[in-house]
């Protein structure tokens, strides 16, 4: 006889309320007594309809309600019956996909020598030898044209300036912004700009330009002096903190048109998340701080091992709980890792690909070579064409076929796959030599972090649901 069993989901609790995160739909439903009771009954076993009804009637539930609950849970795929469901495979998007973002590496040169740098460190994949080190104005204009022309149907597109150290080629940044803005206006589009910098070369003039032109700025910085200067050093080994601190303070004071973000790289030696967050928000004045564990082969001294990641997760959790207390009072909290994940959970994204690289986002090298993203520019891996000849559609199609979640069998039993989809291509390439390999070394981390954010989400949904309305609009424009 056919029996009912649990469907695929991750159950969690927040604010005294039980929830389901359904997989692969990524829908979040709140349970009431009876639906919770049905799922509890099916914990680790299968039961027939009569067995479920018999048990629940004995506990005082009305037959009509039990039948209704079974029907609803089954319709939502929270419970399965007989053969179960054939979940539709996530479709690959239609090609050509309109571009949304181009990350322009205006130079591959840098005035710092951060030991962990993916561009110059021990795990670098770029081979820029013989190619131009600074993007010319002509290539930059072609890149802006490329973005505007290859984004049919999009009202707004985004251009990010990146490096190396972006400000080593500020001249091109400045002229490209002026050019791209005029060109976008001609085409009836809106173009938005942002850049990442190590802040060493910020001047009052540059800061004024960025503020006046509404350029979003992210600063790479690893925290207070002792943390930052462990790896973020000049070529002579001298730490960069004393140089950048006053410049950053001026930046956050003058540039108020966009939130200024800090981007922290966590290593085995720099893992004090809360202390770093405090310093960067309260002392430096950043509006948002995002953290990412260093991308590296596991043998490096700065690689964070499994125990280290557990420690990071503990600290992320503490900081996420602080975010929660702020959210319950409708106050801003700058821990952007939580904010970004809540956004995805609220939308219920179920990703066919871990990110938009090679699809709606491309990286462009100083030479004009197109890469999957900024981390792949000037690298044979992930090369997708050249700005003058366009995207190599055959190479792109092969990437999209191989990187699709349907081909990542390791992920098919993981409840966190709607948000992760196998993880960063660059991380996978550095670890496994294959961009489409699932990042199996951080599965526990992803599941742990997603669970923390689900609980935070659940508590906000139970206690201050209006707060979640800010995530109604999708970030992408």
């Amino acid at each position: 006889m056919s029996a009912y069993r649990q469907g695929e989901f991750h159950a969690f609790e927040g604010g005294g309320q039980n929830y389901l995160y359904l997989v692969p739909s990524a829908a979040i439903f709140a349970l009431e007594d009876l639906s919770s009771a049905v799922l509890d009954l099916l914990q680790g076993r299968e039961l027939t309809r009569d067995q479920i009804i018999g048990d629940l009637i004995a506990r005082g539930y009305a037959l009509a309600n039990i039948e209704e609950t079974l029907e609803e849970l089954h319709q939502a795929h929270a419970i399965a019956f007989g053969e179960g469901f054939v979940e539709p495979r996530l479709e690959a998007p239609q090609q050509p996909f309109p571009l949304q973002t181009v990350v322009m590496n205006v130079t591959n040169q840098c005035n710092l020598s951060c030991s962990y740098c993916y561009e110059y460190g021990e795990d670098r994949i770029a081979t820029p030898e013989g190619k131009t080190k600074f993007m010319s104005e002509e290539t930059a204009r072609s890149t802006a044209d490329f973005l505007l022309n290859q984004s049919p149907g999009r009202r707004a597109v985004h251009l990010t300036f990146f490096g190396g150290e972006t400000l080593l080629n500020f001249k091109v940044v400045k002229s490209t912004i002026e050019y791209a803005r005029a060109k976008a206006a001609e085409m009836g589009k809106y173009i938005d700009f942002s850049m990442t910098t190590n802040a060493t070369m910020l001047t009052s003039e540059i800061i004024s330009f960025l503020a006046e032109n509404n350029v979003g700025v992210t600063v790479s910085i690893d925290g207070p002096k002792e943390a930052n200067d462990k790896f973020r050093v000049f070529h002579n080994g001298k730490g960069s903190y004393d140089v950048i601190a006053p410049k950053i303070k001026e930046l956050v004071k003058v540039h108020r048109s966009r939130p200024i973000g800090a981007r922290v790289t966590l290593t085995a030696q720099v893992v004090d998340v809360k202390k770093i967050f405090r310093h960067l928000t309260e002392e430096m004045g950043f509006d948002e701080v995002g953290f990412a564990p260093v991308t590296t082969s596991p043998v490096r001294l700065y690689a964070i091992g499994n125990n280290g990641l557990d420690h990071v997760l503990d600290q992320f959790t503490e900081l996420a709980e602080e975010y929660l207390t702020y959210a319950l009072e409708n106050k801003h909290h700058g821990f952007s890792n939580v904010n970004d994940t809540l956004q995805e959970l609220h939308q219920g994204v179920s990703k066919a690909y871990p990110c938009g690289a090679g699809l709606g986002l491309l990286g462009v090298a100083p030479s004009g070579d197109i890469g999957l993203c900024h981390r792949f520019v000037d690298s044979p891996a992930g090369k997708l064409g050249h700005i003058d000849t366009g995207i190599d559609r055959a190479v792109q199609a092969e990437h999209l076929n191989r990187a699709h979640i349907n081909t990542k069998y390791d992920c098919h039993t993981c409840w966190a796959r709607p948000v992760c989809s196998g993880g960063c291509y660059h991380e996978a390439y550095v670890r496994y030599g294959d961009t489409s390999h699932a990042n199996l070394h951080y599965c526990d981390w992803i599941r742990g972090w997603t669970d923390v954010c689900l609980r935070i989400y659940g508590e906000i949904a139970a206690r201050n649901p209006k707060y979640l309305e800010r995530f109604d609009e999708r970030k992408a424009i």
Binding site: A27, F29, N65, E72, G348
Partner: protein, 112 residues
């Protein structure tokens, strides 16, 4: 849904999908009908107004001609009347009846 509450946007879309997939037939004894296209499921699958009499007791002002009733018996099994089987044995039964209000007399008996 009464026992599951949609929380995120995707759950709301799932809920809408379920309503459209499973909620288009509505038993009349379930209470007020839902505010969306649906089949009222009572004694018949189809509601075909106007086949008896109009408000004045006549048949002239009906929104459909009375002869339409014959088709409802024939095509949609609206009423369990004895009409020929048009799928297999008598597909041409109404071929001489282009307009039911004018040509209904052309529809003849059949002799199996």
């Amino acid at each position: 849904m009464k026992h599951l509450k949609a929380i995120n946007r995707k759950a709301r879309r799932v809920e809408e999908f379920i309503a459209s997939e499973f909620g288009d037939v509505h038993a009349l004894q379930q209470g007020p009908p839902p505010q969306r296209p649906h089949f009222p499921l009572g004694c018949s699958l189809v509601f075909s107004p106007g086949w008896e009499t109009d408000s004045a007791g006549g048949t002239a002002g009906l929104c459909q001609p009375v002869e339409r009733d014959l088709y409802d018996c024939y095509i949609t099994c609206f009423w369990p009347a004895q009409v020929p089987d048009h799928f297999n044995n008598y597909p041409d039964w109404t071929s001489k009846c282009a307009s039911a209000t004018k040509d209904w007399r052309n529809i003849d008996l059949v002799f199996p």
